[in-house]
């Protein structure tokens, strides 16, 4: 699987390269600044990109801006964004085009190699990987929002895990229920949020979007 990596700290970049190579990824470009990242993304059109939010030259949200711009030029380009902190605002911007294949994780999630590699794979295959911290903040806020208020506590739990990017099987594993039960819940969720498209991946992305946008 071809991968573009953007990280300005040399130590962490080398570490990530080694880690990802060990899990069978082919690193086609490892860059350390925003403009080069954009060039690499558009030129290589990788299967997935792992991008640090804060990059030179401005050391602001250069990486996120490059990722969003690349996705404008190459729609649906899978990108996993890593950051020292997570912001709902940025999560929304990543999800806004509704095509999925995005991830937004805290940098410390890299420590848990298996989960991290799993998240990269999920994004590469068109899914989402949202940091539980984004999700938990949303949970605190969205309790009063109308369409979401119709969900049962169990359905909210399922939606939360779905928002993190878990598959039905993974959700079933985490909640200790059968996969059939989970798919029943997801059907209910889609109905309550009035999402009626047949494409499964897209449906999940839309549900997460509805979740993030709260009342919309």
């Amino acid at each position: 699987m071809r991968l573009v990596l953007a990280e300005d700290l040399a130590l962490l970049r080398d570490g990530l390269v080694r880690l990802l190579q060990a899990h069978g990824f082919e690193i086609v470009a490892a860059v350390d600044n925003g403009p080069e990242l954009l060039r690499a993304l558009v030129e290589h059109k990788p299967d997935v990109a792992v991008v640090d939010v804060r990059l030179p030259p401005t050391f602001t949200d250069e990486g996120l801006q490059a990722a969003l711009e690349a996705r404008r030029r190459v729609p649906g380009l899978p990108i996993l964004v890593l950051s020292q902190y997570v912001e709902q605002l940025y999560a929304r911007e990543l999800l806004a085009d509704g095509t999925g294949a995005v991830g937004y994780l805290l940098k410390d999630r890299v420590f848990n190699t298996d989960e991290f590699v799993d998240a990269v794979r999920r994004v590469a295959s068109g899914g989402t990987a949202m940091d539980p911290e984004v999700i938990s903040k949303l949970l605190a806020r969205n309790v009063r929002d109308k369409p979401l208020a119709q969900l049962t506590p169990r359905e909210r739990e399922v939606l939360e895990l779905m928002a993190e990017g878990c598959s039905n099987a993974a959700i079933a594993g985490r909640l200790f229920v059968s996969e059939g039960a989970v798919s029943k819940h997801t059907t209910n969720i889609f109905a309550k949020l009035s999402i009626d498209t047949s494409d499964e991946t897209n449906r999940r992305v839309l549900a997460v979007l509805a979740y993030l946008n709260g009342s919309n």
Binding site: T60, L89, R141
Partner: protein, 437 residues
């Protein structure tokens, strides 16, 4: 503090013109009565000033000055709210201190302060000036009314007594009395037409004596800067203490615990690998917690979105995390200076927190605009209102912090709501790059 409601600029209808002219003539008449305390205070002040060297005066002079200042302040307020000529208060802060020494220091400052002498001059001149400028329209109107009623008065009263003079008309027949009617009418109309102009001229005259001089303005400015600088230094010292404490109790303590755990795990590795594994897992959890705390701490010092995107998106990010339904409108041509941006950000955050805690509302509108060289932030909620700067310390604290940047906070919160907080910070938005958003 600035007033919230701008003065309406629409041209008044005819009926309202009459009403306003009458009102301003009436107010001018009322203002004359201030000459009673003014003159009385002038005389007593002069007398007791002469007695200051004898000691008796010292006891009474200062309270008299305070009364004089109260009278002058009343006039200042009246000029501001009645004639739209705001007059700033020129007095410096009085020195503290107990007993005779304190009284003496206060008296000495009052005597040496230019504003005191200008107040006294004002008190002396107030009676003639108010008769001439404030009261004249009302006198014209009343005298005019007398003339208009002359034919009637002649019939019922004046014909039975000695001939009366109505200005230059000797009223000794019904024809002459009839002549007084148009003349009276002219005076009434003149009085009404002149009333707003006289009110304004009177206000300007009062301002020339009651407003601070250039020198006094500078002295007040220095006093204000000294105070706000002290506030700023105190606030940043307190902030540093908080950060130090947070680091000490939080991340630092966790790192120590992690070090100990790792040492124990190392020792257990050969004898009890299972226990070592548990310890290592615990240590990893602790490291995640420490990171989490550091992130929160950094966010409290300077939120990442603020440095990434500027004020607009930073406020949007806060809005997303608020339990209320917040709508943010941003029209800023560029980013303000970093310290001011940060102050504005924390001010909005606190106002929003206040609204969430106390307003009982559901919806908040936040507007960020740049008007007349000022960054203006308007926060409106649909809560129950009744917020008071004097009661809550929250808004007061925000006001004080904005003060460091010469910013102001105005609050409009009638019982029943809605509550509007307007914060204004003077700044130059041409000096930095345009915001990305």
């Amino acid at each position: 503090m600035s007033t919230l409601t701008p003065h309406s600029a629409d041209p008044p209808a005819r009926g309202r013109w009459l009403g306003r002219a009458l009102l301003s003539a009436w107010r001018g008449f009322v203002l004359v009565f201030l000459s009673v305390p003014a003159l009385a205070l002038f005389i007593t002040c002069v007398v007791f000033m002469a007695l200051v060297p004898l000691g008796v005066g010292l006891l009474f002079f200062f309270p008299l000055i305070l009364l004089l200042r109260a009278t002058a302040n009343l006039t200042r307020t009246a000029m501001g709210s009645w004639s739209d000529v705001p007059i700033a208060v020129p007095y410096r802060r009085l020195p503290q201190g107990r007993g005779v020494t304190g009284l003496w220091r206060r008296t000495r400052q009052a005597i040496t302060e230019g504003a005191t002498w200008r107040d006294l001059l004002w008190a002396l001149l107030y009676l003639p000036s108010s008769l001439l400028l404030a009261c004249l329209p009302m006198m014209l109107i009343v005298n005019g009314l007398h003339g208009v009623l002359m034919p009637f008065l002649w019939e019922v009263a004046y014909r039975h007594v000695d001939p009366q003079w109505y200005t230059f008309i000797k009223v000794d027949s019904s024809q002459r009395a009839g002549l007084a009617l148009p003349w009276g009418l002219v005076q009434m109309i003149a009085g009404l037409a002149l009333a707003p102009w006289f009110a304004r001229v009177n206000a300007l005259w009062n301002r020339s004596l009651l407003a601070p001089t250039k020198e006094a303005e500078l002295a007040l400015r220095v006093q204000h800067l000294t105070e706000s600088r002290t506030d700023a230094v105190d606030a940043s010292a307190a902030e540093l203490r908080r950060i130090e404490r947070d680091l000490h109790d939080g991340a630092q303590a966790r790192l120590v615990a992690m070090g100990m755990n790792l040492g124990a795990a190392e020792a257990l590795l050969s004898t009890d690998p299972e226990a070592a594994r548990t310890l290592l897992a615990e240590t990893r959890a602790a490291s995640a917690k420490a990171l989490h705390e550091l992130r929160d701490l950094v966010r409290g010092i300077h939120p990442p979105v603020l440095s990434d995107r500027g004020l607009g998106d930073a406020v949007r990010a806060v809005a997303l995390e608020s339990p209320l339904d917040v709508n943010v409108n941003v029209t800023l041509p560029a980013r303000p200076e970093l310290p001011l941006e940060s102050a504005a950000y924390f001010a909005v955050t606190e106002v929003l927190t206040n609204a969430a805690k106390h307003s009982g509302g559901q919806h908040v509108e936040i507007d960020l605009t740049y008007v007349d060289g000022k960054l203006r932030i308007t926060v409106t909620d649909d809560g129950v209102g009744g917020a008071d700067l004097m009661k809550g310390t929250g808004l007061r604290g925000i006001e004080r912090r904005l003060d460091t940047f010469d910013g102001t906070l105005a609050l409009d919160s009638p019982e029943g709501g809605p509550t509007t907080v307007i914060m204004e910070l003077p700044c130059d938005l041409s000096s930095r790059k345009t915001s990305l958003s």
